[in-house]
Amino acid sequence: MSANPGLHRFHGGLHLPDHKQESLTRPLEHAGIPDQIILRVNQHIGEENEPQVKVGQRVLKRQVLARSSEFVSAPVHAPTSGIIRAIEKRPVAHASRMSADCFVIEPDGIEEGLEPPSPIGSAHRIDKKDAILRRIREFGIVGLGGAAFPTAAKIETADRYNIKTLIINGAECEPYITCDDILMRSDPLKVLRGIASLQLILQPRETLIGIEDNKQAAIAAMQDALDKLGLDNTRIVVIPTLYPSGGEKQLIRILTGIEVRSGQLSFEVGVFCQNVGTCAAIARAIEENEPLTSRIVTVTGPGVRNPSNWTAKLGTPVSWLIEKAGGYSVDEPMLVMGGPMMGLELESDQIPVVKATNTILVLDKRDQPTVRECVRCGQCTEACPAQLLPQQLYWYSRSRQFDHAEQYHLFDCIECGCCAAVCPSHLPLVQYYRFAKGEIWEQRRKTWKSDQSRRRHEFREARIQKQKALEEERRRQKREELARKKAAESGDQSDTKPPAANQDLVKAALERVKARKKSADEAPRNTTDLTPEQQRQIDEADQRRRQMNKDKQ
């Protein structure tokens, strides 16, 4: 099958040696239960999880170990039964070699599981939709393409928009990675049933499954399954192999021609993207009542003896998978979690698999090429899929002129690594961009904090002013009432109402002005009893605070 005509192009990109065949010669197998499971408490992008279990406690498979009540979150479940030996900081995959909270579980090997919940069976679409969404949320499903964004939060946000096109990302454009390829080959029906669930929720007009043309077996298997299952308005679109066609904005561009604007969500143009692995995880959650406790991991690269794909329990240490794949074949292996273009270097093989781990790439620790100065050759510009000027970004990042870097659209950089891969001076360009982004975020956090303090102060001042004015008004009304009473008592001879009313209005206005002037000098009063009015003000303040928090995000 060749690439479909009528596809759109994105700028730049690279034809890279794909190195996919190596890990596709062996069938997909289960990696089994490792001796120790190191399960990260937080495996998603978003709010932090709270551990729900204690050290020493026995946990069952599928039991929730950590969760958060926030919208953008995904719980973590026990991948097998065993005893929690510790909840402590362990090294994890992170660009700055960070440690993070992990459950250390000693598996008992019997895989005793919690009673699965009853399957979703309601025929009514609305009920079923809610049940599916709840299931996706409770079963800890996140985007398995690498970003690990909580899927339920993504779908619920998208559901507020009119989604016309559902795009299923099976491009898998980065070299070496084959976990999506092998998934589509070995279980295409599960992918499609997951897609059916998404269709049920989002009701898109059409569904496009984008697969790069270097995955002919996967394309054939998916087409077969699609013919069997017969999903409405669903097409497999074969796209040319060109890195990074699997980037969300790039894939949307290729398939629909729509260019998602900078800072815009794809939902706003009626497109929802989801990775094939996530679709399969959704199907597993719904049909097999399995929370996300395992995923397919490609173990590959020139530094491992038998490149292969494994269904690995989350928390499996990298060393276990390397062992399964025949061990290292080089003396000085360099471990990367993810593909060669965007992956993270791992400091040791004791780092565990998380929901976002698609690949363990083992490279040979080689001599680093000599880094020279930028000669402004412009090859990075030609390769950049975001149409940026990478060398300008490099100059400004390097010289810490971050405002200029932002003017040159630093934040439209998707860190795909094309620029650095073609750089004849071998500059680690992406590293500079990550550094600049980090610095800018830090700066923003600081500005936001000081802004918040200032706004708080200003509002406090305003509130005090308002309080004083109200007090004054109340006193004035009381005085007037007293005066009126006195007047009534002293005898009501004159009955010239209209002019008096006018005069009263003028007087009242003057009083108010005076009161406002005067109130500035008076001290504020503490209010002990909360009137409904005060309660309302407090509520308003709370709401403002929430709004500010939202702004921050």
Partner: protein, 342 residues
């Protein structure tokens, strides 16, 4: 050290790019020696030796490691281009002065390779052109005309001042561009000037063939993707458009477009000098503007300026404009509307 992705083997290297440039210069250089003799070899040897020497000294003074900088071949490329620009049989001290200025003021005062706004070879050349006008206009006639040339050893001796230069002075003459310019100023018609045996089919005898070989070397660079088409094409357009217009209006009092194209350093400049990535514009649209500007300025300088050729001045003038050109020709970023649509 934390390594950051991508972890792919680099597909290109600066030193490789520079080597490709040197390789592309070889055919033209051979043609040059064929038509003008061994003087160029002497120039090349002195220029490259002094360039490496000066670069090493400056790197030592700047406390930089020698090996990575000397092994990027950028100094060799600069020296080679410089040697091609100056008259052959130049005295050794002229070569040393020019290339010394190129390396010091043209390159390292700005921070070395990648930081220099001006093309170092052109800086060195222009300094000599202004400071030593007599030496810089003493050109030997091409061998087909003089029927005589110095051997390699004699050429070295000549450069070192150990040969009686008076015996060879009869072999020197002005360049075809110079002859043409002087002829026009004496109210001769272009067709009359071209009766001189110095002129061939398009440019000067010998010169036009060397230019051809620069063109072929340039095609090699394009094929190797060491340069892009924008600058040579725009530069040619910048020269030919006004030259053709002038020629159509008054063919007798101006040089023909073909003569412009095949004379002096135009094709060498278009493919090897203006395309120096460090000092050229980096955006596609910017390169078109930059190239056209150089071509146009060469026409202006040749037609009305004080110098017969204008490649070096035109390139340096365009180098000056690069930051401005780059700023106003930024490509549209993916997902960002151009300003006028906003």
């Amino acid at each position: 050290m934390i390594l950051s992705s991508p972890f792919v083997n680099p597909s290109a290297a600066t030193s490789r790019m520079m080597l490709n440039v040197l390789l592309a210069l070889v055919p033209g250089t051979i043609a040059y020696v064929w038509y003008f003799g061994m003087g160029l070899i002497v120039n090349l040897v002195f220029a490259i030796a002094f360039a490496l020497l000066f670069e090493a000294i400056i790197l030592w003074l700047r406390k930089r490691p020698l090996k990575p900088y000397l092994s990027d071949y950028s100094a060799v490329v600069t020296a080679w281009l410089f040697a091609l620009c100056i008259p052959m049989h130049s005295p050794w001290w002229l070569v040393a002065t020019g290339i010394g200025f190129a390396m010091l003021a043209g390159k390292h005062l700005y921070g070395g390779l990648g930081f220099n706004p001006f093309n170092p070879a052109m800086v060195g050349y222009v300094v000599l052109l202004i400071s030593f006008p007599k030496e810089m206009t003493t050109w030997f006639q091409p061998i087909p005309i003089s029927q005589d040339s110095l051997g390699l050893i004699d050429a070295f001796a000549y450069s070192l001042g150990m040969l009686d230069s008076a015996a060879w002075d009869s072999l020197t003459s002005a360049t075809p561009l110079d002859l043409h310019k002087t002829g026009l100023s004496m109210n001769l018609m272009s067709s009359e000037i071209r009766q001189s045996p110095m002129f061939g089919d398009f440019g000067g005898i010998g010169w036009e063939w060397i230019a051809n070989w620069w063109f072929i070397g340039g095609l090699f660079l394009l094929y190797k993707r060491a340069i892009r088409w924008h600058i040579p094409v725009a530069m040619t357009a910048g020269l030919l458009v006004p030259a053709t217009m002038a020629y159509v209006i008054n063919p007798d009092s101006v040089a023909s477009p073909a003569f412009h194209l095949f004379s002096g350093g135009f094709l060498l400049g278009a493919f090897f000098i203006a395309t120096d990535p460090v000092t050229a514009s980096t955006t596609h649209r910017g390169r078109l503007i930059y190239g056209f500007f150089i071509g146009f300025m060469i026409f202006v300088i040749r037609s009305w300026g004080g110098y017969p050729d204008g490649v070096a001045f035109a390139v340096l003038l365009a180098n000056m404009c690069v930051p401005l050109i780059d700023y106003y020709t930024q490509p549209r970023v993916f997902g960002v509307k151009p300003p006028e649509e906003r």
